[in-house]
């Protein structure tokens, strides 16, 4: 359970702006799906080159996955791709059809390195199943995160962004600095920064740690929501005690904080609180209580964490929230809180741990 929650939180760091990304002319939108998703979920994956009879249309080539159904590939061979394919006669475009007889999608032209990665993803992907699927997938892409080809590098980065936070902490020790530097420095990768901030937080460099402290303070001072969760989580990596002090003073102590800010702070607290080795969970539980005073809408998420952590302290508070706000809560949220309350009740009555 905790893993699912954390994956959701980490994804949120990246995708919180994804809905707006299509309208952003000055940065690269954070995609909700990676090319690996498209390949692995696709019905047919095929190579293509311009049709000699009509150089602005694609002719089918080697099938890499599934079977070509003979449908029309209704894609224009754009001029840039056409030029690249002329310069590199052995190069192909990667075509994907998601469903039989469905429309085709181009994933762009393939250089040798990218074609090799595609082949490897298609070969290894089907085995990414079971409880270790995430670990296997992350390990696969970890080897590519410093790749010199920008498309491979970006793909690997997006895949690593799906790792649960404990794994991100481990990755921070092995991901090369040059792989995250552009994400932190370049304006066009602004939406991608969430993971880079978390990875940077594993740095031993005092310069990096000071940068994180200052960035969190600036984010707090200007009431910025974007990447607030990541900066808060990173600041807790640098110094959990003092960061929690700041959070309590600046976020819980100031009335004008927005629900979006408090949501982001909750994400950061939840990430650290869910770590098996985190020693300040008691403080986070206290923070949660203050959070519920400010933003009772967080009751289901708080209940989920408390349930996962097998902590009883907030049962009265959450029962009160449920009592007062049930009408405003959705069914899934009500069930989440009720489940926690039942679990606490059972644990108290039987003296056994939570279910």
């Amino acid at each position: 359970m905790w893993r699912i929650v954390i994956i959701g939180i980490v994804l949120k760091l990246g995708v919180e702006l994804a809905a707006e990304s299509a309208a952003c002319p000055i940065c690269i939108g954070f995609p909700s799906r990676t090319d690996a998703d498209v390949l692995l979920e696709g019905h047919c994956v095929m190579l293509g080159r311009p049709d000699p009879a009509d150089p602005f249309k694609y002719a089918p080539g080697a099938v890499l996955k599934g079977a070509y159904d003979g449908s029309n590939i209704d894609l224009l061979v754009d001029s840039t791709t056409s030029r690249i394919l002329q310069i590199h006669p052995q190069t192909h475009v990667l075509l994907v059809q998601s469903i039989p007889k469905g429309p085709w999608q181009s994933l762009g032209w393939l250089n040798g390195a990218l074609e090799a990665v595609v082949q490897r993803v298609l070969a290894a992907g089907p085995s990414w199943n079971g409880p270790d699927a995430m670990k296997q997938r992350i390990e696969f892409f970890l080897t590519l995160v410093g790749h010199q080809d920008s498309r491979i590098r970006e793909l690997a980065y997006l895949e690593l962004g799906r790792a649960p936070y404990p794994m991100v902490r481990q990755l921070g020790r092995v991901v090369p600095r040059e792989a995250i530097e552009p994400m932190l420095q370049e304006r066009r990768y602004y939406e991608w920064r969430g993971l880079a901030i978390l990875l940077l937080a594993q740095s031993d460099s005092e310069v990096d740690r000071q940068y994180i402290r200052e960035s969190f303070q600036a984010t707090e001072r200007f009431a910025v929501v974007t990447h607030l969760a990541a900066w808060a989580a990173a600041a807790m990596e640098v110094n959990a005690d003092s960061t929690l002090d700041q959070i309590e003073e600046k976020y819980f102590g100031q009335e004008d904080r927005t629900p979006e800010e408090l949501n982001a702070i909750f994400s950061a607290l939840s990430m650290h609180g869910s770590r098996e080795d985190f020693v300040l969970r008691d403080r986070i539980v206290v923070c949660y209580e203050r959070l519920l005073e400010r933003l009772p809408e967080l009751a289901p998420q708080v209940a989920a964490d408390m349930h996962a952590w097998k902590r009883n302290e907030l049962s009265d508070v959450l029962a009160q929230v449920l009592d007062q706000r049930q009408a405003a809560m959705d069914r899934a949220g009500i069930i989440q809180v009720q489940r926690y309350l039942r679990s606490v009740k059972l644990a108290v009555s039987t003296g056994r741990p939570h279910d």
Binding site: A19, E20, A22, G29, P31, T80, E191
Partner: protein, 644 residues
């Protein structure tokens, strides 16, 4: 004499090209037709000076009408800090410091300029940054002010918040307050007035209406005013908060003219990013076109932006596979959000195809909605109208000169990428105006006496009539002949006299700072007997004529290429500095409608990325073109037979 030393003499010759003769039977001018016989009584003898009494445009005035500054929200979000004042100063030839901190100056001043910032939240972010006292009452805007002024990460966060707020419809109310918009608009047009210096540097009031209907389909229009601030201030520009329907923009234009007595025209953005919607042959709501619709569109949209930094949209090679020069600075991946383009969309995006559709629609409805002249612009969002290959300052500050800009993503929407090198250093508009004034330039735009170039300032004349002879191309005064015996670019020919085909007088003189001329082509579109539009390209004049001959199909061998990539140089040892010809349509059918426009090609010269490579000492990928055949496109001349 070596070709390299022919230029001074030819330049002198060209000055004569523009001169008038007074001994013609009549002269057609801006003011009408003057009959020589009738005017004789006023003069004892005609003047010795061939220029005395000249009353037609004698030189093209260079400028553009699609430049963004920090008053456009996407520009300021991209880091642009140059406002309209800096843009005008740069345009008139002053040195400025760009948003990336680089000094920059034009090789030659422009004659005129229209800053056309987006009307949606125009200027408000610049006001937020400046700390406008009224705006600072709003806590969100006060916060954004702090973030912008904190710089870097916080400024970017403010930009992203602004974008998110706009896309969610949650823009702080203060920013959409009509009072604020009115105040900003009045300041914006006052700046244009302040920099308007007739005779030297004219400024036209303009704004861009920015419809991205359907998720990034670019239906933008630049609205250009003939008027000064006194009239322009009487109505606020249209925004896409009000409507994304271009037909509503035409209504707005009509209301403006009725209310103020002023004049405006709209110029569609180049259509290559519209995914088949810019020249759709149905209304915005998907209904069949009507004669009234066609007349309304052609009334307000008299020009088309055929080339700019985001590609050139004269014609796509898929639509004209026999046009060896159609494959030029093509952007055909998708729309503004790079939503992939499908083959059928191309038919409704490119100038030539639209001109052809216009003939077909005219035949069916009796009116041609796509009867437009051609202009070029930069669409730069840097405040810098810099369309020179060796002085290209990109689209946004991120594409201002750097060693990396060629390979960085200019646009990237979820992996659908347009690379920096795909940006073009284009373009400008040559306007044949009778004087350098706001009104005269607008009048020339309105009568389509304009031509687009991809940056160089070659001089191009194009006249159509029925009586041009080879002597007109030898007289050294073709402009006088042109205005006397025919109509200039943008004009109309009707009802061919019996037995006569249209004749065209076309002349081009190289840009003194750019390459020689390869050739002049005349491109004809017409309706066949089934009412379907056809096209054909004729080579009518070319350089190195002693060495290059037309083959049986009218094709010409390539001019060659002298570009030295390692030095970013070329030599004018191929091509010619000037070309002139009189051409008669050999395939003319007097019963069918047609259009004709001239395309003037330079010899290959280095593309902007080659100058980057030399300046920064970098190697650029093999996929990037190293040379470019710059070109000019004149507005068409239409032929309409009797009964149409």
């Amino acid at each position: 004499m070596s070709k390299n030393f022919r230029l001074p003499q030819l330049l002198l010759s060209f000055l004569l090209i523009s001169s008038a003769a007074t001994a013609q039977d009549s002269v057609t001018t801006d003011a009408g037709t003057i009959n020589a016989e009738k005017t004789k009584k006023y003069f004892r003898q005609h003047a010795y000076s061939p220029y005395a009494g000249r009353n037609f445009p004698d030189r093209p005035l260079w400028g553009e009408m699609h430049l963004h500054t920090s008053w456009s929200p996407d520009a300021v979000g991209g880091g642009t800090r140059l406002g309209p004042e800096a843009a005008y100063r740069f345009g008139r030839g002053e040195e400025v410091v760009s948003s990336s901190g680089q000094t920059v100056r034009l090789g030659r001043p422009l004659d005129w300029l229209a800053v056309a910032d987006h009307s949606d939240v125009m200027g408000v972010m610049a006001d937020v940054i400046a700390g406008n006292a009224d705006l600072m009452q709003d806590p969100v805007l006060r916060r954004w002010n702090g973030m912008f002024n904190a710089g870097q990460d916080q400024a970017m966060a403010a930009v992203m918040e602004g974008i998110a707020a706009q896309s969610k419809g949650q823009v702080p109310k203060a920013l959409t307050d009509p009072k604020l918009f009115k105040d900003i608009w009045q300041r914006y047009i006052a700046i244009a007035d302040e920099f308007n210096d007739p005779g030297r540097f004219s400024t036209l009031i303009a704004y861009e209406w920015t419809s991205n209907y359907g998720g990034g389909n670019n239906l933008h229009r630049n609205v250009i005013y003939r008027d000064g601030a006194d009239m322009a201030k009487q109505m606020l520009p249209l925004t896409t908060f009000q409507t994304e329907n271009p037909e509503e923009l035409w209504k707005w234009m009509e209301r403006y003219e009725e209310k103020t007595g002023g004049n405006v025209l709209a110029i569609p953005h180049n259509g290559n990013l519209s995914n088949g919607t810019m020249f759709a042959v149905e209304t915005f709501d998907g209904k069949p076109l009507t004669k009234e619709w066609a007349e309304t569109r052609s009334k307000w949209e008299r020009l088309y932006e055929v080339t700019q930094g985001k590609g050139t949209s004269e014609q796509h090679p898929a639509l004209s596979p026999n046009d060896e020069f159609a494959k030029f600075e093509i952007w055909d991946k998708g729309n503004l959000n790079v939503v992939p383009k499908k083959p059928g969309m191309l038919d409704f995006e490119y100038a030539r195809e639209a001109l052809k559709h216009g003939l077909e629609i005219q035949r069916k409805l009796g009116a041609n909605p796509f009867k437009f002249g051609l202009v070029g612009a930069t669409d730069a969002h840097t405040g810098l109208s810099a369309a020179e290959e060796n002085n290209f300052f990109g689209k946004f500050p991120s594409s201002e000169p750097s060693a990396e800009r060629w390979e960085e993503d200019a646009f990237n929407f979820e992996g659908r990428v347009i690379k920096g090198w795909e940006l073009g250093a284009s373009g400008y508009t040559g306007v044949w105006a009778s004087e350098n004034s706001r009104e005269a330039i607008w009048d020339a735009l309105h009568r389509k006496e304009t031509y687009a170039t991809t940056g160089p300032r070659m001089t191009v004349r194009f006249f159509g009539g029925f009586d041009f002879t080879q002597e007109d191309a030898q007289s050294r005064q073709p402009a006088a002949s042109g205005y006397t015996k025919g109509v200039p670019m943008g004009g109309d020919l009707y009802n061919a006299p019996s037995g006569k085909a249209p004749t065209f007088l076309v002349a081009a003189l190289k840009d003194s700072l750019s390459g020689n001329l390869d050739r002049i082509q005349i491109i004809k579109g017409w309706l066949d007997k089934q009412g379907t539009a056809q096209e054909r390209i004729y080579n009518v004049a070319w350089g190195d004529a002693d060495q290059r001959k037309l083959d049986a199909k009218g094709n010409l061998p390539p001019v060659g290429n002298t570009v030295n990539v390692s030095k970013a140089t070329w030599t004018n040892t191929i091509g010619d500095p000037e070309l002139i010809a009189v051409w008669s349509d050999p395939d003319f059918d007097p019963k069918t409608s047609a259009f004709y426009y001239a395309r003037v090609l330079e010899i290959p010269t280095p593309r902007w990325n080659v100058y980057d490579a030399v300046h920064y000492g970098i190697t650029i990928g093999p996929e990037v073109p190293v040379s470019i055949q710059e070109r000019a496109y004149t507005s068409p001349i239409w032929y309409t037979p009797e009964g149409n």
